[in-house]
């Protein structure tokens, strides 16, 4: 290959990788792109491999929450029969869990299972209505598929690991990574305060943004693809294929939460509401015919605000104002 052709090919590949966001993996030494570096650009499974000294490592606890990428090892010093680890990323992340080394006795009753979502007291997030997979497919058992499928990916920014180890000395190591999700749908917020814009681009799906704190929500902009129809005002949002609802409850399952408000008309300008529940959710239902978007901010309710809401409320459900 002549020098000119090679330079042109390099430039073409460089442009393509820049557009795909993989240019950071180029390895340029001595002002010359190596053939290996060129060929690696064609690999769609590029991983964000860090040098060994930059990989974060620590031991896992029986009950744990992990928000930082790295390698995590659990070693059973005694039988551990009921352990769970929560994984969480940024709203625009999905989670990848890779089994690095596993030393358990599957036949002896040990197991490691990854759940696509969070489950607490029998309630799952996302709910079965909002998740693309049926419930049985959301569990991934290492003892059944771990060897052939060592990498498990979530559908949203949260996942869980359940494990049971009978023997002292049993152990396993997993690598936790976060991958980019360009259109996040179901999200659990890491923080009690923040802002988010949820976009459903012509997809027939339901998306929920869950905040596990009592918060005040301020919706800044709502854009639903349908035209405003005054006749609908009598029926509310019933029958509307595209709407946003505010939910409050004391569990993780959005299908079991109380509707605090629903919005089925586009508008600009802040509309705010205080929801004094353990879990506050902004849920968008989309028919798939339109591009729907909702932008909102949220902040933690103070103790005094909650007390005031409690004093003003006559209902037994979560407090709202």
């Amino acid at each position: 290959m002549s020098g000119t052709s090679r330079a042109q090919l390099c430039f073409l590949l460089l442009s393509v990788t820049a557009l795909r966001g993989h240019a950071r993996f180029l390895d340029i030494q001595d002002n010359d792109i190596s053939p290996e570096g060129l060929l690696s650009l064609l690999n769609s499974e590029l991983k964000r491999e860090l040098p060994e000294e930059f990989v974060y490592r620590r031991a896992l606890r029986c009950l744990d929450m992990v928000a930082v990428e790295g390698q995590f090892t659990f070693t059973a010093e005694r039988p551990q029969l009921n352990c769970a680890v929560f994984f969480i990323g940024e709203p625009s992340d999905i989670i990848s869990i890779e089994y690095d080394s596993v030393n358990i006795d599957c036949r002896g009753g040990d197991f490691i299972k990854v759940f696509d979502g969070w489950v607490m007291k029998g309630e799952k997030f996302p709910s079965t209505q909002d998740h693309p997979l049926p419930l049985y497919e959301r569990y991934s058992d290492y003892c059944e598929t771990g060897v052939t499928r060592p990498i498990v990916r979530s559908s949203q920014n949260v996942a869980m690991l359940f494990f049971r180890l009978h023997q002292s000395g049993s152990s396993f190591t997993v690598t936790f990574r976060k991958l980019i999700n360009p259109f996040p749908c179901n999200v659990v917020s890491q923080t009690p305060e923040g802002s988010f814009t949820m976009i459903i681009p012509q997809q027939h799906r339901n998306c929920s943004f869950s905040i596990i704190y009592p918060v005040e929500i301020q919706i800044g902009e709502l854009s639903l693809g349908q035209h405003n129809d005054l006749r609908r005002s009598i029926l509310g949002c019933a029958g509307s294929g595209d709407f946003v609802e505010l939910l409050g409850g004391n569990g993780m399952d959005t299908s079991k939460m109380y509707p605090m408000a629903d919005l089925c008309y586009s508008f600009n300008g802040p509309a705010q509401m205080k929801v004094g529940c353990d879990n506050t959710v902004v849920r968008m239902v989309s028919s798939g015919k339109f591009v729907n978007r909702v932008s909102f901010q949220y902040r933690l309710l103070g103790h005094q605000e909650l007390q005031q809401m409690k004093g003003n409320s006559v209902e037994d459900v979560c407090l709202r104002a």
């Binding site: 029986c62 009950l63 928000a67 029969l81 769970a84 969480i88 569990y139 890491q190």
Partner: protein, 162 residues
């Protein structure tokens, strides 16, 4: 002869378990060294439930007498201890962190350590955790994330500075 004696002992222990599992565990932990401030390490009740996280918070026995040195603790230690006591109390009441709920009595499984239970047909679909504790572990994870980010930034600056 020795084997027969061992088998007989195991059979008697299985047939007549100690009335209070806590007491049996307490008697073994009494032999451990006490803390420098004079308080005993509480029995590993939390460990039995597999919740190592709560042991790391502190394992003070709420029934043990407090030494005079602890009469006026610092505010942060006091609030932390109050949280620990609250967690321990609620744990013992079974309201919090009872992730073994679906598996029944943990103590019986400890006695059956010789037998291996078959892998459960049903997946462990749930974890009994309150939102309060979920937020606690979430905030710990966030603190860890920020600390790690600061550490990574420091490393990067050291590399760029060379």
């Amino acid at each position: 002869m020795k084997l027969n004696f061992l088998v007989t002992t195991v059979a008697l222990l299985v047939a007549f378990p100690p009335p209070y599992e806590c007491r049996a565990i307490e008697s073994s932990s009494n032999q451990q060294a006490t803390d420098p401030d004079g308080e005993r390490q509480s029995p590993p009740v939390l460990a039995r439930l597999g919740e190592e996280y709560f042991i790391r918070l502190g394992n003070r026995n709420q029934n043990s007498p407090r030494s005079p040195a602890d009469s006026f603790p610092e505010t942060s230690q006091y609030s932390k201890r109050a949280l620990q006591l609250q967690l321990t109390q609620r744990l013992l009441e079974g309201k919090v962190g009872n992730i073994g709920r679906l598996d029944g009595n943990y103590a019986l499984r400890a006695l059956d350590s010789v037998e291996r239970e078959r892998r459960s047909e049903e997946p462990p679909i749930s974890l009994d955790l309150t939102f309060h504790l979920l937020r606690e572990v979430l905030e710990m994870a966030r603190a860890e994330q920020m600390a790690q980010q600061a550490h990574s930034n420091r490393k990067m600056m050291e590399i760029f500075g060379k």
